[in-house]
């Protein structure tokens, strides 16, 4: 005898991809498929962006005449 719940049709859950762009859809899919990969990818992207922005602003400040990598400026 078939169990009662089997009479219901199969339900497929899909992301509402039209509401988000491709970049966001990629993260959402990664999140849904493998949480560990999502975590590693998030950390790597954040570290890369953080390091890149840090280096960019350091060089920008150096051009303005403020060398944040000098010990004197650091102590100030």
């Amino acid at each position: 005898m078939m169990p009662k719940c089997a009479v219901f049709p199969e339900v497929t859950v899909r992301l509402a991809c039209d509401a988000v762009n491709k970049w966001r859809a990629f993260w959402m899919e990664l999140y849904a498929e493998n949480r560990l990969h999502f975590t590693i990818a998030t950390i790597l992207v954040v570290l890369f962006v953080g390091a890149l922005l840090g280096i960019l602003t350091d060089s920008l400040m150096k051009r303005l005449g403020i060398d944040l990598n000098s010990r004197k400026a650091g102590e100030e």
């Binding site: 993260w27 975590t39 992207v45 954040v46 953080g50 922005l53 280096i55 400040m61 990598n69 650091g74």
Partner: protein
């Protein structure tokens, strides 16, 4: 006005995205200016903007992990990091951090996380406000006199280091010798607070390193940044794995914070130490006020909308006003310096 709201896919909430930019840039300026990360403003700020509390903590930690990397390398190059002390403390920090994160998850399951974390923030901010006000009062007549620094904390560190529970370890850069358990204990306590409140912990760890372990201040700052980088990475990883991070919001804030932090740190050169402490007191009190408004909004359902709007306006207005004031001081200072006028701002006594 719908274009001003962006859907945050992980948290499933609509967020006022200019608010994220103001918060990221403003807290970057304020954090760089006061020499602390500013996580104590970001977590309540994100929560007030509409993120659930656990997401606010996770997102704050993730943006902090990216932000602290470069400043940690900078301090390491200056020789301000005691790696032995940092490594010993990391053991306690990571365990404490995970305990804090688990406390948040447990409170979330009970449906009490918003209330208890906000109350914990109020207690923390009240303690900080009390310390600043006491400091401002004690220096009232001689605002920038270093000789008026209270010495009770130094006596406490001497007493604590006197407890020789083995193994006793020597930390060469910090120039101190103490029980390994004391360093691990400091890491554990501050780590728990960081995991619970989603802060980097400079606000509590630097005073703990100075007053409990007896570290010189520059080594305390460098070693704290090392701890922030490690615990930030661990915190970002654990909260992301638990599905409580919004990477898009973290990246938007990181953009503003990286630029803001550099401006803020340079602005300290042009402002008197006493004025910096007064501004910090304003920031702490304003942040506490906005948390109180948000708490009242949950108690008073009839005035909920108005109170939530007031809390949002207060936190964003406060961050924007403080960042603007710091930027103004920065521009005035740079102009004065370039015109060759004598410096008005002795900062040696900060």
């Amino acid at each position: 006005m719908s274009w001003m709201y962006a859907t945050m896919p992980m948290a499933g909430v609509e967020i006022l995205w200019p608010g994220l930019v103001i918060l990221g840039f403003g807290v970057g300026v304020i954090g760089g200016f006061f020499g602390i990360g500013g996580g104590w403003m970001v977590t309540p700020g994100l929560n007030i903007l509409g993120f659930p509390m656990a997401f606010a903590i996770g997102t704050d930690l993730t943006h902090m992990a990216g932000k602290s990397l470069v400043s940690t390398f900078r301090h390491a190059r200056f020789g301000n990091v005691d790696y032995r002390l940092g490594t010993v403390m990391v053991l306690g920090t990571v365990c404490g951090f995970e305990a804090g994160a688990q406390t948040v998850m447990w409170l979330e399951r009970l449906g009490k996380v918003e209330l208890y974390v906000r109350l914990a923030y109020l207690v923390l901010l009240a303690i900080i406000a009390r310390v600043i006000v006491a400091d401002l009062r004690s220096r009232g007549r001689f605002p920038d006199d270093p000789a008026r620094t209270p010495r009770s904390g130094i006596r406490l560190s001497e007493r604590l280091r006197g407890m020789r529970l083995p193994p006793v370890v020597r930390f060469p850069y910090a120039g101190i010798q103490c029980s390994l358990w004391l360093a691990v204990g400091v890491g554990l306590g501050t780590g728990w607070l960081c995991g619970l409140l989603g802060i980097g912990g400079g606000l509590v760890r630097v005073p703990a390193l100075v007053y409990l372990l007896g570290c010189p201040t520059h080594v305390a700052v460098g070693t704290d940044l090392f701890e922030v980088a490690i615990s930030g990475l661990y915190g970002a990883a654990t909260y992301t794995y638990k599905g409580r991070t919004e990477p898009a919001a973290a990246l938007i804030m990181l953009l503003g914070a990286s630029v803001g932090a550099q401006i803020g740190s340079v602005a300290t050169k042009y402002v008197r130490g006493y004025r910096i402490r007064s501004l910090l007191a304003v920031a702490v009190l304003g942040c506490a006020m906005s948390i109180v408004l948000k708490l009242l909004a949950t108690i008073q359902p009839l005035a909920r909308g108005a109170l939530e709007r007031a809390a949002t306006v207060l936190i964003l207005g406060l961050v924007a006003a403080l960042a603007f004031e710091i930027l103004r001081q920065f521009v005035v200072g740079v102009r004065r310096e370039r015109s060759g006028a004598p410096e008005r701002t002795p900062h040696a006594a900060r």
